[in-house]
Symmetry: D2
Subunit: 362 residues, 4 copies
């Protein structure tokens, strides 16, 4: 109820502050006998970790995951899998400059008002550091989904107003290779170069910029999702909106679909190679809240990072006006690291709905 759990059958619970001893996650409900490839989990964490390129924060954390339980001789046992990620540098350097100030567009003010207390070091629980725990859990969900023939691909489709062209998504693993070949994590190489240049210039200006991530999920059986409140896209939407800095979510035709007419928007059913498919996919692979076997497609919008390297007006806890100055090493644009968080949350939603689906299949 305090909201640190996500999912029902494949359920995770995360804990940990930015500058506490450790962060971590318990995965409860991972099916037994799944190969738990620790190298894969670590490689996923490495894609999220800070300091990985010149367009991310230069803060160095190695984010090494330790599995404490639920795995025996390399396989999941069906019992809770606890993953611990120690915080390497938990000394509370000097946070006195922000201890009693509310950073603009951060969670300092709301946390203080809600709880009457907060761990101000590095944003505490509101720090994006919490998402490392999600990535570890998402990696395990991906291993499960992979065993079921489901693959997930996300990439940076926009930075600011710079948008990548629509991709040919026939070969997702080829796109993944392209994405991982550039630090922007955009699967269109030409746009990737422009994005890198743009982010670099924003960084030099001490500013930050927003962006968008597009996701494709392939291999989902027909029937995942519940028809009323737990529609598959509603749960995907909640998952995305729970990621720090996300301000928007759309699936299939999305916002632009609201400008269309039914006669152009309807996806006509056809039979291709003995498979029921739709000629177009404005439905984004989900109809009536339930997967229809087509690719699931959605897009997530991230606001610019709130910490900028400039002086800003604000209030302190006493309610007096003051000035806050950006310090430290922060991301000029979060989307290239967030790609892996988007994939992780997508995997968690799908693993949960796949188990819910199986409960009713004989």
């Amino acid at each position: 109820m305090a909201g640190n759990s996500f999912g029902h059958l494949f359920k995770i619970t995360t804990f940990g502050e930015s500058h506490g001893k450790a962060i971590g996650v318990i995965i409860d409900g991972c099916p037994p006998n799944i190969d738990i490839d620790e190298d894969f989990i670590q490689s996923e964490l490495d894609k999220r970790k800070p300091g990985q390129s010149k367009i991310t924060t230069q803060r160095k954390e190695s984010d090494v995951a330790q599995i404490l339980s639920g795995v025996f001789e390399g396989k999941s046992t069906g019992t809770p899998i606890a993953v611990l990620i120690p915080n390497e540098d938990q000394r509370s350097k000097d946070y006195s400059h922000i201890a009693d100030k509310y950073r603009p567009s951060h969670a300092d003010y709301t946390y203080q008002q809600k709880y009457g207390i907060r761990d101000y070091r590095g944003g505490g629980r509101s720090s994006a550091r919490e998402t490392a725990a999600r990535v570890a859990a998402g990696a395990i969900a991906k291993l499960y989904l992979k065993s079921q023939g489901i693959e997930i691909f996300a990439h940076v489709s926009a930075v600011g107003t710079l948008e990548a062209p629509n991709l040919d998504t026939t070969n997702l693993s080829a796109l993944l290779d392209i994405r991982e070949s550039n630090i922007a994590r955009c699967a269109d190489p030409a746009t990737a170069n422009e994005m890198i240049a743009l982010i670099d210039s924003i960084r030099k200006a001490g500013d930050t910029i927003g962006g968008k991530i597009s996701t494709v999920v392939r291999g989902v059986p027909v029937g995942l999702g519940e028809p009323v409140f737990d529609k598959l896209h509603a749960d995907l939407g909640k998952a995305m909106l729970s990621i720090n800095a996300v301000h928007g979510f759309e699936y299939g035709s999305g916002f632009s679909g609201s400008e269309m007419q039914g006669s152009e928007h309807n996806d006509i059913f056809v039979k291709e190679e003995e498979q029921v498919r739709t000629r177009t996919n404005f439905s984004g692979g989900i109809q009536g809240g339930i997967s229809n076997g087509m690719d699931i497609m959605f897009r997530t919008a991230f606001k610019p990072v709130a910490t900028i390297m400039r002086d800003q007006e604000t209030l302190n806890e006493a309610g007096d006006s003051t000035t806050i100055s950006g310090k430290g090493r922060h991301d000029p644009c979060v989307v290239s690291r967030a790609v892996i968080i988007v994939e992780a949350m997508t995997a968690l939603v799908l693993a949960d709905h796949l188990l819910r689906f199986k409960a009713y299949k004989d």
Copy 2:
């Protein structure tokens, strides 16, 4: 888990198919001693009901709500409030023309595959008729919120590419009056007239069109929402995406915020009349997932209605190609009726989070 419940402390469970005996809802967790104004509940249902104007479906249903339990001498008792809405015309006219055909962009195919059985009459459970139950429950949530000083206002801000200008939202109740003075339910009278004309022309062409709804919530105390997965905007997003035909959700700066830079996007804290406020509200009233006392603002995108009055190709259950012809009376554009559903779901999310908030306040 089958997903017909929504909320935790203020929780609803809906039931009923379009052509069964009745639809309805149980509201579990409404605080006791709230005045349950049945006229208000009915007036909310009347705003959603079909046949209310020339730009909605001409199907006539009076949607009369009966309260079966949980109310004693006009007040809630703290026990479950069951609301029943009998289906007036439950005879299964002639649905033989669609009984074994998959209507494009409807849920026929996914339901059949998921369950191996479906009530094909009027879409069964996937019918938007289910939302009448949400409106009844939302009306009760509104009565609770009103007693706590919280007000909700939504209106149609776009039909197709026709967008209303930004409103001055100083006086929400005045806007509500304007909205209710026109059948488009747009609070800008000039745009409303254009919308009506546009929808009417779409209807005459046998087609349908999408649109957008904008929502403002005022009077929410600082502190609602949980910091990680159950962020207030994540729960609002899930609520919106659970409404039939919704393909997108954004709050605060939304998708356009992803094109901005941090220096322009950050909301500067200021003190006005002894209140902490922010100079801008790109955060949409929510920071770190928690309400900050500013107006909560979000926008919801609806795709065009799938049932059009034209012949369309499709498949039947046997997998053979066939043609389906639009029949009956359907909405050319759903947003003017959906405004009240959006408000209802908003009220449900806020009532739930308000109770969660109170659990931790002494």
Copy 3:
């Protein structure tokens, strides 16, 4: 959270007061394509209804169930099944004699303090009438379990200090026939006669008496139940303790097992006809919280009904001493009607755990 729902995958939500318009239940998560035999549901309700024999309350209610949704052409569709049981006599006769008095060992005082309001007519929501909704839902759960080869049998094993001998449970359906052949619902005919005489004498004395119900569940696959908090017997125990008047629950060896030594209590594994079985069944069919394939066996203790036909001291809402006099027609002993409630709650727990089990089976 307000606690009117039970179960997770096979979930029910009940509503309704004793003297409101109706009581009822929504069953969410019943698998599709189950034959919903309405006659069976009604026959279960008839076993619980008041006025069925001289040893139950003489109040007459026919408790006719109406299915409002979720069933199409005699089969479940996978969508919520709503069952309505109208209250026949909802006129609030004369309850003025108890309207402001706290009946001893009833819920009047706690409801008034908790909610600040209560529907005093017939106990409102605390009335055992609520259990009719459970019986209707339990009947549907039984139909599902029957399709899976699981059968449930309960009977009255004690009234006051009068205990039935241990039964030979080889043939549960024969025992069921015996049980239904007498109004005490005890499967030992000789004891049944003694019970009837005892209850009748208690009734004539204007008093009430407690009793015990024993339950056997057969055909449960190995593997139902979760190892830590949601142990199968923990969920059965909660289910039983949620029934009005239940003050105790034990499974397998139960309380007497706490007086035994390990060397006599351990159930030795043996192989019989290619089946793993245990030589004794002190474990009651559950080991480590998980079904082991043996019969599940437990016992439930009911306190005497609180309403007696005698004057009793008590307080009124103002806190003054007063006298309350038993009126109306009440049960002298509740167990012969409660047998069917025990079976219903047992069925609900097993249906839920069976679905949870299936989610993880390929």
Copy 4:
């Protein structure tokens, strides 16, 4: 859903196997600004730990708790509190003698069948070691409850057929001192001595014995518990039955209440010192599922420990008959250590229901 979480608003999730790297717990929903006294948490763990006396297992584990998150400068912050208890001796000594054998009345067989894999070392997740995590969480719940004036007392009221006399419970803290003055943890000194002698003789015989624990909770406000499924005693019962080896639960008059008549069982309301009280307390402090302000009283029955120091027949995984020999150091009677687990689970139920109660209080 996999059942490693307990509670709703004050919710815990435990993880860890007996011979893995660590066990632990996340407490989600602890109110902020509670003093988190780490010495108290450790002292509670010390009361549960093995090797504490001659009548417990001689296995030595120090069970040192580390708080990883959710506490800042000695106070809870409202964010998840993670507690880690490293396993000191995680080397898998020689478990080859039981690796493929099903120990009688243990969970080996059911785990293997349910999951198709199990960590056989020390019972893995089914080990009572898991309860150390509950004790750590329960200690934090106790700190919260103490701040609200609620105190919990449990003691060993029976070992085998040896029962302590009824206690005068006027002064719970004095009883606690007596309980802690003897290794049986019985608050009646004379009985304690007899219990110690009995357990010691059982231990020397290589056998084990069951027992009972009685609990009293004082200071609970009127109104905790929900009226239908989440009755306060139903949640307490589930909590108790989720503890390893518990086979029975009763509250108030319990099983013996089922042998009584209403005229003797009814608790008469009286006013004492301006407080509404009941003259007797057969209701065990709970009426209609809701606390009535009187002491909450219940009793829990534990079966004898399954591991005995004798040869027993059993089956191996192949289904062949074999013999298993008790080895290692095990508890001859679990109740003196289980007292603290009972208190912990009681605290967790009450903390959860207290928050649920507060959500509806203005």
